[in-house]
Point group: none
Chain length 411, copies 2
Amino acid sequence: MSPRELYSQLARPAEGRILLLVLDGLGDLRTATQPETALEKAATPNLDALARRASLGRTLPVAYGVTPGSGPGHLALFGYDPLSKEADIGRGALEALGMDLDVAPGDVVARGNFATADAQGNLVDRRAGRIPTAESVRLCAAINDHLATAPSVPGLTAQVFPGEGYRFVLRLRGPGLSAELEDTDPQILGVPPLAPKASGSSAGVTVERLAKILPVIGQAIIAEPKANRFLLRGFASLPHLPSLEHLYGLRAACFAGYPLYRGVSRAVGMTVANCGKSVAETFAAAASGFGSFDFTFVHVKGTDQAGEDGDLGAKVAVLEDVDRELPVLLAALDPTKDVVAITGDHSTPVPMKAHSWHPVPVLLAAPHAFVDGLPRFTEATTIQGHLGTFPAMNLLGLLLAHAGRLEKFGA
Amino acid sequence: MSPRELYSQLARPAEGRILLLVLDGLGDLRTATQPETALEKAATPNLDALARRASLGRTLPVAYGVTPGSGPGHLALFGYDPLSKEADIGRGALEALGMDLDVAPGDVVARGNFATADAQGNLVDRRAGRIPTAESVRLCAAINDHLATAPSVPGLTAQVFPGEGYRFVLRLRGPGLSAELEDTDPQILGVPPLAPKASGSSAGVTVERLAKILPVIGQAIIAEPKANRFLLRGFASLPHLPSLEHLYGLRAACFAGYPLYRGVSRAVGMTVANCGKSVAETFAAAASGFGSFDFTFVHVKGTDQAGEDGDLGAKVAVLEDVDRELPVLLAALDPTKDVVAITGDHSTPVPMKAHSWHPVPVLLAAPHAFVDGLPRFTEATTIQGHLGTFPAMNLLGLLLAHAGRLEKFGA
């Protein structure tokens, strides 16, 4: 029996609510050149106070030595086996999900770029001079108008949705569609966009229909001065994951400013709330929404970004920002029954400027959490903690247990 | 998905090289009568210095409470599941492999003893008075000459290879051979050697052929004054393990003085280098070969031998010898990209005079290893380390990761 099956079988309703604060890429390294980690260096009085009354430990996102992408990293924290087939979600699908699109099972989505071609139809700019978002909004509206009035393609309706800058998403809907499709983006200049082509045996019909609808889209923008072509990549369909509500009866909400994390959250059935991108905005929104959900996921991107940039000072600053705003978030909790956990989806050590495989510090405070009494929340103190080092996908079991949401197993 | 499948799927080439130093039977115990372990008692300034800049932890070779043999102990360190069927290699096969014999898939090998029988053909010495190696060499040559000139047995060619002292190896080659054979060694005196007999249903044909060829071998030595008989045990065929090169693209080399460890290494596709048995000889050979391989396995036998002998002083002396020679080995590494790990294949605690199930200290130093800053490398300090306590078969994943040889998992 997988941990998820076990937890699902034992799940029961209770009053305890769960707050999961993910500081993306939290874990870091001590090395010869970086003797202190960001968590060690940052002044975090509020986090320290929380740590002193919490259980500490470390999560292992996927497996020893394995560096997780953001998708598997978060799915594990939500209790899904990151190595299972169902958890293998393409980045395109996650980003599309994160754009608040209505993507239903069976739909196929692709990431699109507006691009520029010369009079011969050969690409001269794969990003259409990086047109602003407002342009993309206008172009998408023109395309959708054209699609609505052009003769329909049997078995296929298409719609486009503007993204940031030159980016958009194409959604294909119809019976029997397949996402086994090659990119139409040739990745080079001086050639035209590629024709639709199957990458697997299931996509024959989809390619036929796509070959009819892509010219309709093309027609809508062909006379544009810059954005007169479009390129598609990362065809994907919606991942099919049983929701947190289905599995555990958790009404869950996501407070995340970035599309990818909103996408993972939507894939597991969370309500994706509107919130800004700053820590203060995100925490304020989460605090005010907390009472309406059983499970509240709050995401901070800055820690990962600073790690990717190799900027220890920036990582410290984000942690200090988080620490400053933490009381707002914690004030929403009822300390007599609610649970708060703080961790990361993976490590993004400053010296590596990349995601890594190193275990991630985790803190759990709840009425029945063992009080380690450790003075701070760092990579080194968490080695000593009550929670030990454990697979990230088991964290949800601990959260449910501490919220009083798991029955006893066996007589 | 098994860890090995995962690591294999994610493996990519990189410049980082890996050094795995196995101090056989490294782990030891503190008990009422032995208040300090060999690692605690030994003066190891070089190891201490390495420990201070490394991540520490402990490996669990097979499972909690399970004492590993040397085969499973090493296979786990090489990334193979020691509980899998493919990893179940007979000692005979490992020792035969370790003798640098040409053993092909389908061959059957057995360990042989030269023995002495009286005029009635009953055994009086199962080791032929412990004849010297030179005698075994002469006898094997005589047998092979006789086999070459005697009438052939259809479907079977046999050859013998001298070992140390009274020992040799018999190699059987031919279509459809099976290793499901009982020993011909009766383990007692006063009776003749046993006739070949199947131990499983697959060996009927093999027994028929063997019954024809064993008298030919016997004839070659029947007139010898001492070694006038031979006994066979441990029939085995070559284990079929996918190589480290096949799985991870690792060109791997073994520097080990003893046959069993050379055998395990050959079974996983390592190049088995010539090296002496002393620590100094082994380390010098490994250091000079290091640059030609991606993965270098170095084996020290003395720690296990001292443990088996219940000799704490001897174990301390071996560790101090290792410490003295360690700089030679480490000098071969490029500290900006290479990885070194030091551990054991199991514990051989002095108070037990035997292998044991206790976790084994492990040290890992690499550019992106978390620096624990612990002062020494001992059974007790490693409990506090960043690596935690983990299955030995995951060590290879950590080594690959630290060498930059694993892709990120998922988007």
